[in-house]
Assembly symmetry: C2
Homo-oligomer: 126 residues x 2
DNA sequence: CCGAATCCAAAAAGATACTG
DNA sequence: CAGTATCTTTTTGGATTCGG
């Protein structure tokens, strides 16, 4: 359960720890840029600059920051080619690919309900 | 496509608009609190205060803000009972339920890869 | 009980410059 | 080309108060 940070019963100290960890991870990945990176990297291995071009509007800083976070959590693998100029490639590994499937679902959802959302917004804003 | 805000070809002005709208919606919902609300509300209709209790750590302000946003986008229905004290119930409607399925996937992913992530973090932090 | 508005601290994010 | 660091600005979010 990700919604509850602490479980009810006193003995389940481990579950409590697992819960708060789960929440932490959820907070890490449940953000716009992280999900867009996962989605983009899902198609193929990309270099830093390519990734930057693929994801409209992301800044150098945000990209670096989120790539580090994804690497730390073991979703992305970073491979440095010691050439000059340097060439750094990012690959979505197995756990990342698994998550990607659910992100795909979110993207599909977005296009499917686009019209419905537009209508709802018009009504709400009136 | 949600990753690209603008399509390449000049004539597809409509697709461009749809893309930027999709991106806007994606930014709206791809955040921690919105997803946790969707997940929690997926189980049953809840009052404002109940929702606040269910979601560990959410503030009054964040809850209000995200509920308005979800209502505006037509994922959540808000029903006010004109009693005193007031009673306001929030229900996840069809489009919200559809999205919830993908959020479930994210939650499942989190628990499944918890161990893997913990290991990866340990290695990375070393 | 719910919600809107205000104020203020904290965090996020953009811009820029510098390194290997 | 990729990454880090710093600085500044903007945005976010929490606390509080007041109103229906």
């Amino acid at each position: 359960m990700v919604t509850k940070q602490f479980s009810g019963s006193p003995q389940e100290a481990d579950l409590t720890r697992a819960d708060s960890l789960a929440r932490e991870i959820f907070s890490d990945i449940a953000n716009k840029w992280a999900l867009l990176i996962i989605e983009t990297l899902g198609e193929r291995t990309l270099r830093f600059g390519e990734l930057r071009n693929e994801i409209e509007g992301i800044s150098h800083k945000m990209l670096t920051q989120n790539l580090r976070m994804l690497e730390r959590n073991g979703l992305v693998e970073r491979k440095v080619h010691p050439t000059v100029p340097p060439r750094v490639e990012y690959t979505l590994v197995e756990s990342g690919q698994a998550l990607r499937k659910t992100v795909d679902g979110m993207c599909d959802w977005t296009s499917r309900y686009l019209g419905h959302i537009e209508d709802s917004r018009r009504r709400f804003d009136a």
